[in-house]
Symmetry: C2
Subunit: 494 residues, 2 copies
């Protein structure tokens, strides 16, 4: 059959405008049909580990196969193993928005397939990135020093992990230029115990002592926000012990419960102690384009760097993590290289930005294109509506939970995440952790909904995030009904 196809004249060229047109139209219909039927798939894939190895051959084919053959395999073999992040019944982790505009942007970027490490390798890629990050900085009312016209500027990273890593490296090298390289083992990093694990990983990568990544305790008394007093005390202790505090990662919207650290009060502490102040608003930053939520980043004018992921809740396909820095030279001093084979007039003349020096990899995709298309095809007003709509649905879900006395909302809902748990029956041996773990498994194994969990003060807690573009109130209602039914069944079985 392979040989037959090869001889049929249908063989696909490496590149050809008309073949591309024909095959890509087929793919568009396949994708549109996927979205049309997306609710028929289990949201969380129900396959067992190793399922795919049993379905695919153990070698690459020698001869070409047809697109139809491959698409059949996608339908029959790949899609069952997909967890459908774009399903309207997806309420897990944080959202990863795909949108029509974002998808179109990805298409165009993949088609041009440029590698924009330096300005000259596609001036439009660099310049559009600078422009849309300035647009966003304006929409978020960020301080002037984060604009490209100041000493700083914005850049698209792949993920928030890379964003925190590059600013940690910039901060590390900046302080080491003052105190000397040999002080590396004395550098201390701070965050709350709610800070994303990427901070620890960044410390690990940067050669910092992992013991000196201080994740300061939070609890429900501050709604899991970092206390400036706790930070201040930790810093004083470290200084007294001859250590060198150099970096704080503050959160606006933590992963577990969307807690918001008090930026202005924390900024006072970092200013006094000459510490790099990074604000991680990976998820919640998107909400701050709405006037009524902008106050959550009040204090950002004191930050050295600020991050939000357009690929989470801003209708921009993964990956697209936006980072602004106050002082771009710190980033560039840490991350620049200048080999002969990349030298060119524009770069040598310091006339342009070369974003390769603002990130870990050398190569980079034309990611600004999709963000630009999202901004233009939806407009800021459309994006605000998208955000507000999700927050309203989360508020509605919260109400539903509150009305059922068997459940409890365990942290304030600030954006579109509700943290809640099923209460253990009186005199139960279980503190509720096993109960909620079991409830999560039961609910997710229906395939009708996907939610995830976290731990807050040692309690196993369920997380329900509204954020998928296709989610409507009816999906929220249906999800709650499943949760209630499974809770009833579980409590009865005890």
């Amino acid at each position: 059959m392979d040989h037959e196809e090869e001889g049929s004249g249908l063989k696909m060229k490496a590149m050809d405008a008309e073949q591309l047109r024909e095959q890509a139209h087929i793919m568009v219909d396949f994708i549109a049909d996927y979205y049309k039927t997306i609710e028929t798939f289990p949201v969380l894939s129900q396959v067992q580990p190793g399922y795919l190895g049993k379905l695919l051959p153990d070698s690459a084919p020698t001869y070409p196969e047809s697109l139809q053959h491959v698409l059949n395999d996608v339908q029959e073999k790949i899609l069952p193993g997909v967890t459908h992040w774009q399903s309207p019944n997806y309420f897990a982790y944080f959202p990863a928005n795909s949108s029509i505009a974002g998808f179109l942007g990805e298409m165009l970027s993949a088609a041009l397939n440029i590698v924009g490490f330096s300005w000259i390798t596609s001036p439009a890629a660099t310049e559009l990135e600078t422009i849309v990050l300035d647009w966003l900085a304006k929409a978020l009312l960020l301080p002037h020093h984060f604009f490209s016209t100041g000493q700083g500027g914005g850049v698209i990273q792949g993920t928030a992990s890379e964003a925190v890593l590059v600013v940690l490296l910039a901060a590390r090298d900046k302080i080491l230029r003052t105190v000397g390289r040999s002080a590396l083992p004395k550098l201390v990093t701070y965050g709350s115990d709610q800070t994303h694990s990427s901070l620890q990983k960044a410390c690990q990568i940067g050669g910092l002592d992992p013991e000196l990544c201080r994740l300061l305790k939070t609890d429900s008394s501050t709604n899991f926000a970092l206390s400036p007093d706790v930070l201040s005390e930790a810093i004083s202790n470290d200084i007294a012990n001859g250590l060198i505090p150099f970096f704080l990662c503050a959160n606006v919207g933590t992963t577990s419960s969307t807690a918001v650290d008090p930026l202005p009060a924390l900024a006072k502490v970092t200013r006094t102690n000459n510490i790099w102040f990074h604000v991680d608003a990976a998820y919640a930053g998107s909400a701050c384009i709405c006037p009524e939520y902008r106050h959550f980043i009040d204090g950002v004018e004191e930050a050295d760097s600020f991050n939000m992921n357009a690929h989470k809740w801003f209708l921009t396909n993964f990956d697209c993590s936006l980072l602004w820095v106050k002082e771009r030279s710190a980033l560039i001093q840490s991350l620049s290289t200048n080999p002969e084979f990349l030298k060119n007039k524009a770069s040598e003349g310091n006339m342009v930005i070369d974003y390769k020096d603002w990130q870990i990899p050398l190569g980079r995709r034309f990611r600004s294109l999709k963000l630009w298309m999202v901004l233009r095809l939806y407009g800021l007003e459309g994006l605000q509506t998208h955000i507000k709509n999700h927050i309203a649905m989360a508020a509605y879900f919260e109400e539903l939970v509150v009305q059922d006395t068997r459940f409890k909302v365990v942290a304030p809902r600030t954006f579109s995440l509700v943290c809640f748990r099923l209460l253990p029956p009186p005199n139960s041996e279980d503190n509720g952790n096993k109960l909620n773990h079991d409830l999560l498994d039961l609910v997710n194994s229906t395939g009708s909904v996907f939610i995830t969990h976290t731990a807050l003060s040692g309690e196993y807690v369920l997380r329900f995030v509204v954020g998928a573009p296709l989610t409507e109130v009816r999906h929220v209602k249906a999800a709650w009904q499943i949760l209630q039914e499974k809770a009833t069944a579980l409590l009865e079985s005890l």
Copy 2:
């Protein structure tokens, strides 16, 4: 007009199967038309720094705009600022192949838009990646320990920079577990002076002493390959000085001249000294699926890690960098995190791979999909033909250069790169560096062709790489004609 459009009922939804279908078909035609007319654009963008800021507004729009409006802007404002990596007249840097199959894979991956950090977030993403990396390992005749069934396995990184970084970190932490963390400032990294700048950057990132990243001298006597004796001597000196050698990055196909380091002889040195042996075949690795070129990676069976970029010369759209490691536990020990919110049964039970622990970021795209589609839609035979065809065209170009006595080929052509220069006239004050710099500028400013340069033994050298999928012999001929014409004009003007 914005308001009008808003009221016209054409407003794009965040997501909707039928709107997606309609708009994506429009985008397909736009993209196919781009490829149809790609030769009408200057290959190297001829815009001046800052050009785009003058064409775009300084704020994001409040209200949605139409796709047609945006596509007009792409045509009129963005495309002039694009350097057309997919043009058949692109002979610069190394290629970054887009192909029909790769593009279709990107479309599908963008449509599913999953974030595959852990197995459970889309089992198919993890398992397909493992499978296709095993397929490729087989096609490249890699040793058993690089297969997922051994102690190692393959993983897709964004770029070769990230590949060398993660293995450097794994090697760093492995040796530090033996000698103690305080030995960090004593660790020494080795490579030749032809090694890609990403090695130095990785050292910088990992907190290693930049002075101890030894880029050992090469010259034309070894065709710019690293001498095992030079390496051995450097290691002995460092050990004698109380330093700790721990990492070698060897090259198969350097960026400047596609030099090939002698892997078997280097492996002897690393084995004796217990040094992590990384092989960077970012560009040339693709050629090694052809039996006649496989010998260039002989010795890879001794390597601890091996890297090739499918996004360079393997018809797989950017980004897709393939990394194999001998001992996956070393990678995982350096890069794993395990926060509560990501815990799940499959991961806790060690039943699955979580690729988040094999890379820098947490999030990751479904990149194996495009590689799988490339392998299936072209077959290994089709991919071999693609490679051989380019190498034959480069050999033809080399012949053309040799036939014109005004030029000189300055390094052996091994794959599809020809390094050459225009010889300065006798009694010229210029050693040829200015002459070739001027020739490069003249040629690139025609817009008809794009080539880049490098330096070899202090000489400014022109690089001509055949690698774009659309390139045919007529494009190579035309490029050479432009080079000859401009050389004639330049020599006459002296």
